[in-house]
């Protein structure tokens, strides 16, 4: 009982810290409201005349634009509201311009991402157009935007130059949050094993994570790699829980869609590529460069095998990215139907259906973390496998099973 109360107190403490942090950032937010009324009026009058403004009152709603706004990275963490009523968390913008490195909060753009507001630093001028930072033009265009646009069949292209952008964007912030969550979870779990030992029954968080950790170690690592799998268990656990935590954060309505960002999945799959190939043994490389096939077809087979080294991680990258992105798009599209048909009645159909998809996404969040980890283990397994391993592997597997 007392331990439960203690756990609760711990939770309460963490909540307190999180809430305080949020409060501080909100303060920052209110402080960042535009000071000059003139700018605000300018922005408002200009916004209504922009051709690709998606939330114009009365006009048809462009669900595609709204959906992309939700799944893409941005320079501020948007919670709710539109335009100047928007409640969002400003994030730091770090740019390397022509004359140096500039740091400022994204609130200096005053919620603008259509290129109306220019931020001037040390003589260099920046605008935010659709969450990308560009060097601003000297004079605004006919709509009041400081960017040069060309519209070629509905696609808007920006001609301005871009500074090097090292900003702490929404996705980077999400990554820091997941990092802290993972550190907190796993350090406390590791400490629990240190104090109570590995033979006593798990408690609290341990009870939830121990089966998952054992699942990754025994079923994924040992099952696919076999002998010497211990070496790869830390990497597999890291990948599994990083993807899992970020998938789950992505399901929270205001969360960031980090695992649906192709750059993030690219880095993960590159790590898999490097680990697989660094650990490749003689067998693995001879399969690629000296395949067991007639020499006549080697010219076809070897290029295919070499391409396969890269195609496998690329498939990993696209699978995770596409699964998460598609899930988010489906949910926002279903909710968007209410606004397309402009009838609250549609909500009775689309909200339960969106809830259904959301629950399915909970399954997908686990499944994709599992599949990424399992395929990584499979690739590593094929790189380190000797020929006569199978019988050994099964023995180990059964032994491990009977232990638990």
């Amino acid at each position: 009982m007392t331990s439960k109360i203690n756990t609760f107190k711990k939770f309460a403490n963490i909540h307190f810290v999180v809430v305080t942090l949020l409060m501080l950032s909100f303060n920052n937010l209110f402080g960042s409201e535009p000071q000059e009324g003139q700018t605000e009026a300018e922005v408002h009058s200009a916004a209504s005349s922009v051709p690709h403004e998606s939330h114009a009152e009365g006009g048809p709603v462009d669900i595609t634009a709204v959906a992309f706004e939700h799944i893409l990275d941005s320079h501020s963490w948007h919670f709710w509201g539109e335009g100047h009523d928007a409640v969002s968390l400003p994030l730091p913008v770090i740019l390397k311009g022509k004359n140096g490195i500039y740091t400022f909060m994204s609130s200096e753009f005053h919620h603008d991402n259509q290129g109306f507001v220019v931020v001037e630093k040390n003589g260099e001028r920046f605008v935010n157009f659709e969450e990308k930072i560009y060097f601003a033009n000297e004079t605004p265009n006919e709509y009041g935007q400081y960017v040069s646009l060309t519209a070629a069949d509905k696609e808007v292209a920006v001609l301005n130059e871009t500074p090097l952008d090292f900003s702490i964007t929404k996705n980077v912030t999400q990554m820091f949050i997941s990092m802290f969550v993972l550190f907190w979870l796993f350090i406390s779990i590791a400490n629990a094993y240190k104090t109570t030992g590995v033979t006593s029954a798990p408690k609290g968080k341990q009870s939830f994570f121990e089966p998952l950790i054992i699942f990754v170690r025994d079923d994924i690592a040992k099952g696919n790699i076999g002998h010497g799998s211990e070496k790869f268990v830390p990497y597999l656990l890291t990948v599994f829980f990083l993807i899992l935590v970020n998938n789950v954060f992505g399901l929270i309505p205001i969360g960031a869609n980090l695992t649906g960002n192709i750059a993030f999945t690219l880095v993960l799959s590159t790590a898999t590529l490097i680990i697989t190939n660094l650990n490749g043994n003689k067998n693995y490389w001879s399969h690629i460069f000296l395949p067991h096939a007639p020499k006549a077809i080697w010219p076809i087979l070897i290029p295919i095998e070499i391409a396969g080294i890269f195609i496998k991680p690329i498939a990993l990258m696209i699978r995770l990215f596409a699964n998460m992105t598609a899930g988010h798009i489906i949910v926002i599209s279903l909710i968007g139907l209410i606004f397309v048909f402009k009838s609250a009645m549609i909500g009775f159909v689309s909200v339960p259906f969106a809830l259904f998809i959301d629950i399915l996404e909970c399954l997908v969040a686990f499944l994709q973390a599992f599949i990424f980890t399992m395929l990584t283990a499979l690739f590593i397994g094929s790189a380190v496998a000797d020929h006569h391993e199978d019988s050994h592997q099964d023995e180990d597997h059964n032994l491990a099973k009977s232990h638990h």
């Binding site: 699964n323 598609a326 599949i371």
Partner: protein, 68 residues
């Protein structure tokens, strides 16, 4: 006629995924009917295979999105 050819591509991807997942589901049903005690193992394998097929279908969706 107006519209995007990408929509046709997305539709074709869905047909492929439907066939694939349908085959997996059907075979899993048969397998469970033959050996009900192995249902849990079959279900796990079925879900993994279905997720892999779904992943391929989503490649199609990504292409459809990119060429919108």
């Amino acid at each position: 006629m107006t519209g995007s050819i990408a929509a046709v591509g997305a539709g074709l991807a869905v047909i492929g995924a439907g066939l694939g997942i349908g085959k997996i589901g059907g075979s899993a049903m048969e397998a469970i009917a033959r050996q009900p005690e192995a249902a849990a193992k079959i279900q796990t394998a079925m879900i993994i295979a279905a997720a892999l097929v779904e992943g391929v279908a989503l490649f199609g969706v990504v292409v459809a999105l990119m060429s919108k």
